[in-house]
């Protein structure tokens, strides 16, 4: 138990939060109770404590010397603890002579019975009062910030983020797993609702990135691990061997041309076409440096061939090349790792993989693309042109068995498909949808345009795609069986081609990546934002921001907006030059330490070591992140934690249990 001269004088302030708290918690009773607690000198209530007049109540009582420490019972501390610390400082007291009681998120919003809610609020207030009596004045820690930034993921969101940061004059590292940046958008033909060509708007940006003096693109690379903390991350990146020296290669493409082995299914083209062993995923790739696919290369199998090496005019081919680890020091990170598409074979009834003419939306994108395998023409496997085409919405989304969320972009790209397919083949197009979701500027107009074009819209979830005819006219066709919920009959519609509008899903390695960066994910596996409304591109880990589809399914405009937003956030952080951290670090009372070293191995940041001279442990405080693991273990109580020392926590325990 800590001793102090004189009694503390505590002010307790209860926030109504409009009706959010006051409707459930009997504030008057709570104030009565609070003022009965030992050392409580002032107990006030107010409609909105976070408002200016609310904060002034605190500052004024402090200035007038009525109180010397503060408790506010309001919303979650993560919401307004900072606000009231500031108000306390306004009043001339140290901001850490403050304790927050969460009676909104943890009481009024989750408790049905008002009496019980009031009792719970009392317990939390009593605890805060007991604890604040032991609070100590503290200073915030200032840490310098590295002003370089890392962007992970070279899709449109990452590209935008990188450009914003680079244009602001910051050094940016852009890490992309594939041989080229561009992401999914590079695969698309047109973009909804304006139908301008994806390449035309994307490639200039890719080139900018490639040429930007402030951007270093690390393509064909992956983040290995991350150390450090906000302002000072150390990131190790594995640069996979591409067997072609980036600095020597001028992208002439001769090696690709000369490579005799051209039969590898192209990932970029969804295996609709083949690529050589030496390849660039697509003509506009950035960087314009090919990759040798060692998996499939005969040279790596038996040392024969090596045509590429022979023909390379710049001797850029290097079969000896190995993975390299690059170490990057950055102050902020933007994660824009994007998404993967739903595996349509998971729904056998839709026949993907069984029926050649059942294809996914991404395959269609490649077909439509002028630079794609079919040069932009839509043909069935036998080469003939489809007369009747069906587009099935919500494949792998809005379905408890797969993903319950709405993938948000499928309606719009399905409409885009309906238009393009009709435009290019004159085929009759059916859209099978559950609900038509066209939120977004100009989207609804596009929907109406399609209806005007005579596209069929059938409202209902497709039950099955089959090739077993029941009537003669179904012979030789795919048949979609669906309940048309608008007229309430089950329909069987014969078609030549079926396109599955597959959902966006978190990357396969999303959880691996988020753990490397110490952030959380929501139940659906997408990265978790700090606040769903107010901090959509921030995370709970300071200095790590998220943008684009890695945070949830979204279309290009939203991804771009988030990329730019995240970049602005990162910029605001690293531009400060330094930042202030809560002083919740561990501290050591040397006189109590026996040098038993129990703590040393427990610290994840190596902040503790044994001092051979003094025969006790020494704590390197700047390295401490304030987890308190060592404090709980220290058998002498020599290690304690600011804001969370044993005595303070034990007072809080008494408070919640003993109501006073």
């Amino acid at each position: 138990m800590l001793q102090r001269n004189g009694h503390p004088k505590i002010g307790v302030y209860v926030c109504h939060c409009g009706i959010n708290i006051a409707d459930k918690v009997n504030v008057t009773e709570l104030i009565e109770f609070a003022s009965s607690l030992p050392y409580v000198a002032v107990a006030r209530e107010y409609k909105f404590m976070c408002s200016d007049p609310g904060q002034q109540l605190i500052a004024q009582d402090l200035r007038e010397g009525l109180i010397d420490r503060v408790v506010v019972a309001a919303c979650s501390p993560l919401m307004h603890e900072g606000t009231f610390r500031h108000a306390t400082e306004e009043g001339g007291a140290n901001g850490f002579l403050y304790q927050h009681a969460n009676i909104r998120e943890h009481v009024s919003w989750v408790t049905e019975d008002g009496v019980l809610a009031t009792d719970k609020a009392k317990a939390l207030v009593a605890a805060a009062v007991r604890r604040v009596a032991l609070a100590e004045p503290l200073e915030r820690k200032r840490v310098p910030i590295n002003d370089h930034a890392l962007v992970v993921g070279g899709g449109i969101a990452g590209i935008e983020a990188a450009l914003v940061l680079a244009n602001a004059g910051r050094k940016v590292y852009l890490v992309e797993r594939e041989p080229s940046i561009g992401g999914h958008m590079a695969m698309f033909d047109k973009t909804f609702p304006t139908l301008d060509c994806a390449a035309c708007i994307l490639t200039p940006k890719m080139v900018q990135v490639g040429q930007h003096p402030n951007i270093q693109v690390l393509s064909y690379s992956e983040v290995e691990d991350v150390a450090g903390y906000v302002g000072n991350f150390t990131v190790r990146v594995r640069r996979k061997a591409r067997y072609i020296k980036e600095d020597l290669c001028n992208g002439c493409g001769l090696c690709i041309e000369k490579c005799p082995w051209k039969n590898v299914p192209s990932e970029f083209d969804q295996s609709l076409a083949n690529r050589p062993v030496v390849y660039m995923p697509f003509p506009q790739a950035v960087p314009r440096v090919p990759v040798i696919d060692a998996e499939n290369c005969v040279y790596f199998k038996n040392g024969k061939c090596g045509a590429c090496k022979k023909f390379c005019p710049r001797e850029a081919v290097d079969f000896e090349q190995e993975d390299e680890l690059a170490e990057l020091n950055v102050g902020a990170v933007v994660l824009a790792t994007g998404f993967k598409t739903f595996d349509a074979t998971r729904i056998p009834l839709y026949g993907y993989g069984r029926f050649p003419n059942v294809i996914t939306s991404l395959e269609l994108e490649r077909m439509l693309n002028a630079a794609g395998p079919s040069g932009g023409s839509i043909a069935m496997k036998d080469g003939s042109i489809p007369r009747r085409v069906g587009i099935v919405h919500c494949v792998g989304s809005r379905n408890r068995n797969y993903n319950s969320y709405c993938s948000s972009v499928c309606c719009m790209y399905s409409l885009k498909f309906a238009h393009l397919v009709h435009e290019r083949t004159g085929a009759e197009v059916y859209n099978f949808y559950i609900d038509m979701r066209t939120v977004g500027k100009g989207y609804e107009d596009f929907y109406h345009r399609l209806m005007a074009e005579g596209t069929h819209f059938v409202r209902g979830r497709v039950a099955e795609v089959t090739d077993v005819p029941q009537v003669p006219e179904e012979e030789g066709h795919l048949v979609v069986q669906v309940e048309d919920t608008l007229i309430g009959v089950v329909r069987r519609i014969p078609l030549d081609m079926v396109i599955l509008s597959i959902a966006m899903e978190p990357q396969a390695d999303a959880s691996e990546v988020r753990r490397k960066f110490g952030i959380s994910s929501s139940n659906d596996g997408f990265f978790l934002e700090k606040h769903p409304k107010l901090a959509p591109t921030s995370t709970l880990t300071d200095g790590v921001f998220i943008a684009g589809a890695c945070q949830g399914p979204k279309d290009i405009p939203s991804s771009v907006a988030q990329g730019q937003g995240a970049a602005a956030q990162a910029l605001a952080l690293i531009d400060g030059g330094f930042m202030e951290l809560d002083p919740n670090t561990a501290y050591l009372t040397e006189e109590l330490c026996s040098g038993c070293r129990t703590c040393v191995g427990l610290c994840p940041y190596n902040a503790l070591e044994f001092d051979e001279e003094k025969k006790v442990v020494s704590l390197n405080e700047p390295l401490c992140k304030g987890c308190g693991v060592c404090v709980a273990a220290c058998p002498s109580g020599a290690l304690q934690q600011h804001l969370f020392n044993d005595e303070q926590i034990m007072e809080e325990i008494k408070g919640v249990l003993a109501n006073g």
């Binding site: 330490c593 129990t598 191995g601 006790v616 002498s636």
Partner: protein, 325 residues
């Protein structure tokens, strides 16, 4: 000017603390020269009346060993604390409840049933148990009430200082007396031994690895420890890191682990819980099953970590003389 009066008194104790005083050997003559020992049940005569006759505070200090189990003990220590300026809890039993405090794991009835009925050598005399009041042909006999719970001294009276140990070492006893006589006593409530854990004064501490960890746990009979090597580093659970120093690592010098008789350090509230926290933090695994296995290598967790301090555990503190859990 007359010499300061001091007294030594025992409650539920084994007499080891008295032996420790006798082990002052020739020093005891100096003590006798410096103070008047107005009573010391084991060695000198006194009567309760003698104590009652003393003016309040007439005693400079009363050294009380043993824990509190009987009504008379409680009455007596209340009387003594009135008469003495300083109350010094002497030894583990007075400070923390001591080894007899392990009795708090059982209650009065079960102890009686075993000792007077179920023990193998007892010849059942149709359920005869000792009675607190008994009429015999010649008159009435009384036995004192045997309580459910053993308590540390400071649960019953206000204690000024603590002399830790089972028993305290003669050296510490001498130091305490000197401090008392020279008026150099520290702040009230202080434990009159080292302020650091035993590791600090243990000769083997330098042999402990920079980052200690427990890959395996050995019981003392399972391993012949390498001499001159930290026992904890050899997988033997030594409570040196948790235990207040001052004994100069007597047990470790005898190749046996510290079992904690000097109790917790100033900023630790519960010896057992803290010891458990420190030791388990060293388990060299993050795998649930492996951790289970390691934990199972520590049978009788309570007996290990609360060998001397069960009555002082936060779990039972301030719970009166009942064994209510």
């Amino acid at each position: 000017m007359s010499k300061p009066k001091v007294g030594l008194y025992w409650c539920a104790s084994c007499g080891g603390c008295e032996e420790a005083v006798v082990d002052l050997a020739e020093k005891i003559l100096d003590v006798v020269a410096a103070v008047d020992i107005v009573f010391w049940p084991v060695a000198l005569d006194f009567k309760k009346e003698d104590v009652e006759a003393l003016a309040d505070g007439e005693l400079t200090a009363i050294f009380i060993n043993g824990s509190i189990r009987l009504s008379e003990q409680e009455e007596m220590v209340h009387l003594l604390s009135r008469k003495a300026q300083y109350v010094i809890a002497f030894g583990s039993c007075a400070q923390l409840g001591g080894i007899p405090g392990l009795a708090n794991l059982a209650d009065r009835e079960s102890i009686f049933e075993y000792v007077y009925r179920d023990a193998p050598s007892v010849v059942s005399t149709d359920g005869v148990f000792p009675q607190t009041r008994l009429a015999v042909p010649e008159g009435e006999l009384k036995l004192p009430q045997f309580w459910d719970r053993v308590r540390a001294l400071d649960e019953v009276i206000d204690v000024d200082y603590y002399l830790p140990g089972c028993p305290p070492t003669p050296k510490l006893i001498a130091n305490a007396l000197t401090a008392l006589l020279e008026g150099k006593l520290p702040e009230k409530g202080a434990v009159l031994a080292s302020s650091r854990a035993l590791c600090y004064e243990c000769d083997l501490n330098p042999t402990k690895p920079e980052k200690p960890s427990l890959k395996d746990i050995k019981r003392v009979w399972e391993i012949i420890p390498e001499p001159d090597k930290c026992l904890l580093a050899q997988g033997i659970i030594c409570l040196g890191p948790v235990t207040r120093g001052g004994c100069e690592a007597l047990c470790v010098k005898a190749n046996m682990p510290c079992t904690g008789c000097f109790g917790p350090l100033d900023r630790v509230q519960d010896f057992g819980a803290k010891g458990l926290s420190a030791i388990s933090s060293l388990f060299a695994s993050n795998d649930e099953a492996e951790l289970e296995a390691l934990a199972d290598k520590i049978p009788d967790v309570a007996g290990l970590f609360y060998k001397y301090s069960l009555p002082a555990s936060l779990m039972f503190k301030g719970r009166g003389n009942t064994s209510e859990r």
